[in-house]
Point group: none
Chain length 375, copies 2
DNA sequence: CCCAGAGGTGAATCTGGCT
DNA sequence: AAGCCAGATTCACCTCTGG
């Protein structure tokens, strides 16, 4: 836990910020105003599904300050882009303010708005980590046959800056994808059937996102207990999935009927229990075992000769866990790199040892050691 | 033929313009300068594969230690987004000038540049018709496990304006796609093997595009005899495909070694019977469903207990699709094998679940999922 | 001649913690 | 802040070689 490493005062400050957050609540009103009520650097993830139809309501003004009635005004195209850009810059600015330095931003959109969104994010200093394509398994056909069937939407995942850190649960994603790296194209069905919220037979929200999409986003790029903010909450897919996955959530939503539907829906969502929530742990976060420990505990005897997989290179293990090969001496990593003439080497997988009649990487012994010493 | 509808004087003017075009030639030099030498409103299609501005850092090596041959060419280096934007605006301006009013523009890029490109196209008055995702069948993996595998690139197809007409060969696309509407995501392999141009064993161009991509673009959005301009001609994929499909082409290219390779290649290209095209497209592969997808989409809840057919062994499903049984953890296949002491196991048929009062293999759920999400 | 296995490679913003 | 160093990390193809 990073928090336990903080100095008491910093930890207390962080706890204070968190205590000030309206966790599990939907803030009523315009998203920019709503976000202004939140403290800075307090949120781990922002997921935003902004409107792109330019019908943004009556509270917008042109760059020159003149009022825009979005529904009845007839704009030329450049005017409408300018208005949309202004709106986008405003909410992105607030999102950036409330995000922690190691937080991240996801946005989703279509070709109508995603290019403006992405360019503006780059201009504001966000660092794009991936663009991800949601490939719809069952899209609406193009009835007129005038274009390609619009069968995907685009998501952008960005950190706070080029050098900023971010969360990526690589192993969980790999597990979810049958032991292959998760790719940037996600095949998922659109939201319909039981999941689609309806009232009196008609859908409550025109663009309700499937929970599977948010599930993958949160499992990949947040940790349990993280705070997820959705400035365009709608009917609360983000909140429902956050609850399921043991994440905290905050929403902003202007329309009261969406807020009501969302709260009711999230109330019904079942929280996964602790054991189901656990995911495959990355070796990066697993307890570390030094090579020397295996010598000390007798799993490998000093004096043992270990080799590379093809038995072309060999080295002798010394009592302190260093290796010697001819006149060269080094750690399992350093000597492995040196003997290969490579810039780096993972000694755990490079060096092999004969164990129970089989040649195995020494990493296998480390795993056995971990299993045997697990409490 | 639109030409027959023109008044004699207009038809003559159009013929004059066409006669002034350097058809089947590569104009040497910077693309903006080169395009300035072309008459206005003379070209039916511009296909542009501009530098992506990858902004790569240091070296990258694979897990096996080998070196990744990255795109470090000088033509992909820009000092800042501002410099890149200026470059982009200049060539887009010329492209717009040389395009006919009913012409169209295609661009291709990655998340590094495509958002800036798309936003600028909109700002200049181009009207986006589709964004199209090229889903790579065989992308380069993410070697460090830091992000999602970058498995796609994005194309934007745009007309000259909201009211402008454009060419779309709906039926040809539908035929190409087994009588289903062509979607906005195209699965195609990257360019390698015989198709990849090499000289002395090394690739001539670092980012040669597959011909299949250009086939689809030209077949969809041009007619026979149309003039296609590629301002970033490289090794001439656009020219080779244009020749095969009976389209006229013009290229712009700065580097003489690319120009030479392109001319030689186009010389070799044979004009093709359109009916042969279909066989060149990659076959539709059976959709794969990862176990994790069933968790994400709610077909199986995390926390569910699944068993073998005789209910002797059981395991609990976790949020990322891994299974846990006692102290053992693994994928549906791996854990199934481990618990049986078998070398391998098909988890889909081994593990069973109670569904609608019946005990069924989880494979049955996968089939139901596939049925429900079929295109 | 075929097959198995080894080797190479593709538009990539590709580590992190401690001193 | 820069430097050091432990150590984590790959998928789908293609071509070539040896048996």
């Amino acid at each position: 836990m990073a928090q336990t490493l903080l100095k008491p005062r910093a930890a207390q400050a962080q706890a204070d910020v968190r205590a000030a957050l309206p966790l599990g609540q939907i803030i009523a009103g315009d998203c920019v105003e709503a976000m202004r009520s939140l403290p800075s650097a307090s949120v781990d993830l922002v997921f935003a599904d902004p409107p792109y139809n330019l019908q943004l309501g009556g509270d917008l003004s042109r760059p020159d300050g003149s009022h825009v009635d979005a529904v009845t005004d007839h704009w030329d195209q450049f005017d409408s882009f300018a208005v949309y850009d202004k709106f986008t810059r405003e909410w992105l600015t607030e999102a950036r303010r409330v995000l922690k330095p190691d937080g991240a931003l996801w946005v989703i959109g279509s070709y109508h708005n995603i290019f403006r969104l992405g360019a503006m994010m780059q201009d504001m200093g966000f660092w794009i980590l991936n663009d991800v394509v949601w490939r719809k398994a069952n899209p609406m056909p193009n009835f007129k046959g005038t274009r390609f069937t619009n069968a995907h939407e685009t998501l952008i995942w960005a950190s706070m800056g080029e050098k900023a850190r971010y969360t990526f649960n690589y192993t969980a994603m790999k597990t979810l994808n049958d032991e292959l790296q998760m790719r940037s194209d996600w095949v998922l069905p659109i939201c319909n059937g039981q999941e689609r919220l309806k009232k009196g037979g008609t859908k409550v929200h025109p663009t309700q996102k499937p929970e599977a999409l948010l599930y993958r986003v949160m499992l990949a790029t947040t940790n349990k207990g993280d705070v997820v903010l959705d400035p365009f909450f709608g009917t609360g897919t983000t909140g429902a999935v956050a609850k399921r996955l043991g994440r905290q959530w905050i929403g902003c939503e202007r329309e009261s009927n969406y807020r009501e539907a969302a709260l009711e829906r999230i109330e019904m969502a079942l929280e996964l229990d602790e054991s189901a929530l656990k995911t495959m742990q990355s070796p990066r976060s697993a307890p570390k075992v030094a090579f020397g420990t295996l010598i000390e505990t007798g799993w490998i005897a000093a004096g043992t000769v270990i080799t590379d997989k093809k038995r072309r290179l060999s080295a002798t293990v010394r009592a302190d866990g260093s290796l010697v090969s001819g006149t060269e001496i080094g750690s399992i990593h350093g000597l492995g790199a040196k003997l290969q003439g490579a810039p780096a080497c993972n000694g755990w997988t490079f060096w092999h040892i004969e164990h129970q009649g089989e040649v195995k990487p020494i990493d296998a012994l480390r795993k056995l050691y971990l299993l045997a010493t697990e409490d």
